[in-house]
């Protein structure tokens, strides 16, 4: 007999709802001028949408490395759990942030204002 934990079910449903909500927002964001793409990673699945699909692996590795570096550096410096990370190169910017158990990385042109994205997603 299969016994389901209703609490777990609720959590999973909430998680799924948050994911859908984030996915919807990210799709809107992706259409904005200056946005290169995004990566949304949950506990069980991930979705990647980039304007240049040939860069999927490199960007996924960078996204993961950013969260790792953020965790390690904040731990070392004792500045608490990571809220958001902004990485800038000469022309490109990456905003990485946690929303509940979801990790979001948005790639954009450097001139794009990431503060509005952050407020929209948080």
């Amino acid at each position: 007999m299969l016994v389901k934990d209703s609490k777990t079910d609720d959590t999973e449903n909430d998680d799924e709802n948050i994911k859908e909500d984030l996915q919807e927002k990210l799709q809107e964001i992706k259409d904005q001028e200056g946005i290169i793409g995004y990566i949304l990673r949950g506990s069980k699945s991930a979705s990647i949408d980039l304007k240049d699909p040939t860069k999927i692996i490199e960007y996924a590795v960078l996204s993961s490395a950013t969260f790792d570096a953020g965790r390690d550096m904040t731990e070392a410096l004792q500045i608490g759990e990571v809220d958001n990370i902004v990485v800038e190169s000469e022309e490109t910017k990456l905003l990485s942030m946690n929303v509940n158990s979801h990790r979001i990385s948005i790639f954009m042109e450097k001139s794009f204002d990431h503060n509005n994205l952050y407020k929209n997603l948080k």
């Binding site: 960078l62 570096a69 953020g70 390690d72 550096m73 004792q78 500045i79 990485v87 800038e88 190169s89």
Partner: protein, 237 residues
């Protein structure tokens, strides 16, 4: 200005900046090669190295989007900013609500200006210790030793020019400029050979004040130079 003076100057600058901006908790500066130039007392070596290691890993992966210029990490209790300034990176740990404009002014105006000023001092120093062209005289005999000999005035001149700031200070205060004497020189021939060797004052009264460098015969042979040749000589600081 040697590397230590540079580090001390940057460290002093960062100390003053921290006094002016109390929101800064920790700060340190390292090169693109990962060598720490200066850091404050609050950040211990282990912490600094951990941050550096994480940053190097991230820098490597960031090549996917170009050369890394800056990283800002906002934590629950503070903010970390790593900024590329010329061939260095400045790490600032601030309170979470530190004024962005202040941080920007430090990373984009104040520190680049300080670094530029230090480099100007450095260039001035290099100009002041430019090589001198001296005429070769050979030193031979049992007591020739392995040191070259130059005029006392040249050594004094190099010593006084060793640190421009100390020279200016001594001039202003009227005090004697006590500095470390020059112990070694680099000799470069016009044929492209070079050697670093110990230096002493010319002890032969007849040869003083003739813009001359007395070089042991053995060294002359290895540098492929003869008596009467011109060589470029500069102090090793």
């Amino acid at each position: 200005m040697n590397r230590d003076s540079y580090a001390i100057a940057l460290n002093n600058a960062m100390t003053e900046i921290k006094k002016a901006y109390p929101d800064i908790k920790n700060s340190f500066i390292f090169t693109k090669n990962g060598n720490i130039i200066t850091g404050d007392q609050e950040a211990d070596e282990k912490t600094t190295n951990n941050v550096l290691e994480s940053f190097e890993n991230l820098k490597e992966k960031t090549k996917a989007i170009g050369n890394l210029k800056s990283v800002q990490i906002t934590g629950k209790n503070g903010k970390l900013t790593v900024s590329n300034i010329k061939d260095m990176y400045l790490v600032l740990v601030t309170s979470k609500n530190a004024d962005k404009n202040y941080i920007h002014s430090i990373t984009h105006v104040i520190l680049p200006t300080i670094i530029k000023t230090l480099e100007t001092f450095d260039n001035t120093h290099l100009q002041l210790t430019a090589p001198k062209k001296l005429i070769v005289d050979t030193l031979s005999g049992f007591f020739a030793g392995d040191s070259v000999q130059v005029d006392t005035e040249i050594l004094t001149d190099w010593t006084n020019n060793n640190d421009p700031r100390a020279r200016v200070k001594a001039t202003i205060s009227g005090e004697q400029n006590l500095q470390e004497s020059i112990n070694q020189v680099q000799i470069e021939t016009f044929g492209g050979n070079a050697a670093v060797c110990k230096v002493k004052e010319i002890n032969d009264q007849d040869l003083k004040g003739k813009n001359m460098i007395r070089i042991p015969e053995k060294l002359c042979k290895s540098l492929e130079i003869n008596r009467g040749d011109l060589v470029k000589v500069k102090p090793v600081v």
